[in-house]
């Protein structure tokens, strides 16, 4: 029972971690909270569903979902965030909220208000060990998440563009003076953050076999919480924060009350912040 809840928590935790990485990177570099992250997640999932229904290819649909997520992320950066750089932090926040309302109602218009199931049936095989079960799909989600996280860490630490992003996050003026194209770094950050959220959305759409225009709301908020929990601006923090949140909420739902499932993530957040006001991994700010 306990092990089973830990496995379920790990799966949702991986997804929260992917969304949290997007939040944390954008916050780390721009100092703003991209509240529309959950809508990017939702658009990624919807685009994948539509492409899969049209083409039947799972690879093509995953690529389309991530591509749409990236395009929306880039557009957001251009339209809703770039003109607001350096303003009072509440102003980009409201702008992001406006963008999020815009995107979710756009999705409602395009895809209709009702839930759509994923047009591909999965019959995942179950593996059991120590009285707990894990299926193929869960293993794939955990595997893909770990792969994406490793890829991101390698990109940031080993490539020129990745190092440029870290430099801009540390001090954007100094980075500009040493010849780094700061705008390109911002765009790249939005691109990667959106790709991760899009991937998370697609995996969750397959896992729960449902997509709806509001599906991004709670994962978006929990991803944000996970980023804060881990310490904003910290990549390992976002991953740990996501996992802690996912596991806490599954344990809470199983052992205390399932109708308060969504509350446990936030209760855990408040508790951690009261004890460690700068997050689990101290943020780099």
């Amino acid at each position: 029972m306990l092990l089973q809840q830990l496995i379920n928590g790990l799966v949702s935790g991986c997804v929260y971690a992917l969304v949290a990485l997007g939040y944390t990177m954008i916050f780390g570099i721009l100092g703003i909270v991209n509240f529309a992250q959950g809508e990017i997640y939702m658009f990624g999932a919807f685009s994948a569903v539509v492409t899969l229904a049209a083409t039947g290819s799972i690879w093509l649909s995953a690529a389309a979902g991530i591509a749409v997520a990236c395009i929306i992320g880039l557009l957001l950066e251009r339209v809703a965030f770039r003109p607001l750089r350096g303003m009072h932090p509440l102003i980009p926040l409201i702008s992001a909220i406006g963008a999020s309302i815009f995107l979710s109602s756009l999705a409602r218009l395009i895809f209709g208000p009702e839930d759509k199931s994923f047009p591909l049936e999965f019959h995942p095989a179950n593996y059991s060990f120590f009285n707990a079960q894990i299926n193929d799909l869960q293993l794939i989600i955990i595997g893909v998440s770990i792969f994406l996280m490793a890829l991101l860490t390698a990109f940031l630490n080993m490539t020129r563009h990745g190092k440029a992003i870290i430099a801009v996050a540390m001090d954007s003026d100094a980075a500009r003076l040493s010849g780094i194209n700061v705008n390109r770094a911002y765009e790249l950050t939005f691109l990667m953050g959106s790709a991760l959220s899009g991937a998370a959305g697609i995996m969750m759409a397959v896992y729960y076999n449902a997509t709806s225009p509001n599906m991004g709301l709670l994962p978006g908020l929990k991803g944000f919480s996970a980023a804060i929990l881990g310490g904003v601006g910290s990549i390992p923090g976002a991953i740990i924060g996501g996992l802690v949140l996912g596991i806490a909420e599954n344990l809470g739902a199983a052992y205390i009350s399932s109708s308060f499932k969504d509350a446990f993530a936030f209760i855990a957040l408040v508790l951690v912040l009261v004890l460690m006001p700068r997050g689990i991994m101290r943020s780099r700010k």
Binding site: F27, P89, P92, G98, S105, I228, V232, F266
Partner: protein, 288 residues
């Protein structure tokens, strides 16, 4: 038609109260709260339940404000240990937790909401007419505006301004930063609770969906749109954001799209808010 106009005016009044009360946290003390609808809801539910249990309106009204202020204190004590974005997410989490509590308790009627809230009665007479209720809302609003202006000038208001501009130097000037920030939350939640009480008795029926995160965000948008810290601005922001859905109503399905796009456009083209640093008293006052 006129009933509809009065309804919109009453909603503008109630949301002006909410925007002004949030402006105490955001504009005066420079903090942030994404869970303001929770206070609105607590005031509404408490006042509704108290009056169903047989309490008179003035007592229920006042008690719901006070009880909401106590809950504001309960949130502020742990939440104010953190700052900025951390505070934003803690208040947002508080709002979601309170929303789930409304949804799952028996006394609040769960997801079905609280039905049969008695109307406001003053001096033993129930107040059914919309113009009458509008008068009551405007009366409360005038008292609140007056208290906000005097609060802004008072020692507390100046301490808040110092904390907002630079909390470290405020601390070195001998201001108890934590205590004054807590005070901002208490004052703000008191007024939000009163607004909730008015809302509950006006609609006679409340459900948890009214007090969710969207409402919190809408109230915050009113404050930012009007101009952070501006009293006139908060009222203008409330009027505008209540009016906007009514004006956009003919667009039907496209209503939310325009609403979202307008929020972005307003931030991009007028980030300082409608009022910005302009004061209405200066606009009409003496010109040099």
């Amino acid at each position: 038609m006129s009933v509809y106009v009065f309804h919109v005016l009453i909603m503008m009044g109630i949301y002006s109260l909410l925007a002004l009360s949030l402006n105490i946290i955001v504009g005066f003390a420079g903090l942030v709260s994404l869970g303001h609808a929770a206070f609105f809801g607590i005031g509404a539910y408490l006042s509704g339940i108290l009056m169903i249990k047989g309490l008179g309106f003035p007592a229920a009204f006042f008690l719901s404000g006070c009880a909401t202020a106590v809950l504001g204190l309960c949130l502020a004590l742990p939440a104010l240990r953190v700052k900025d974005d951390y505070l934003a997410i803690v208040t947002l989490g508080f709002g979601i937790i309170i929303g789930l509590v409304f949804m799952n308790l028996d006394i609040t009627g769960g997801a079905d909401g609280l039905v049969g809230i008695p109307p406001v009665s003053l001096f033993g007479k129930p107040l059914y007419s919309k113009p009458g209720f509008l008068g009551l809302v405007l009366g409360v609003l005038v008292i609140m505006i007056a208290s906000m202006y005097s609060l802004k000038q008072s020692k507390i208001g100046r301490a808040w301004a110092a904390i907002r501009d630079n909390d470290v130097s405020a601390m070195f000037m001998g201001i108890n930063v934590y205590a004054y920030k807590t005070m901002a939350f208490i004052t703000s939640s008191f007024w939000a609770g009163l607004a909730g009480s008015l809302y509950a008795h006006y609609t006679a029926y409340i459900n948890p969906h009214t007090f969710n995160m969207h409402t919190s965000i809408m109230i915050l948008s009113m404050v930012v749109l009007g101009g952070i810290g501006s009293i006139t601005g908060s009222i203008l922001g409330a009027i505008l954001l209540i009016l906007l859905p009514e004006v956009l109503r003919p667009l039907a399905d496209y209503q939310d799209i325009f609403y979202g796009a307008l929020l972005v456009a307003m931030m991009v083209f007028r980030p300082q808010g409608i009022m910005g640093r302009v004061k209405i008293t200066e606009m009409f006052g003496r010109k040099k």
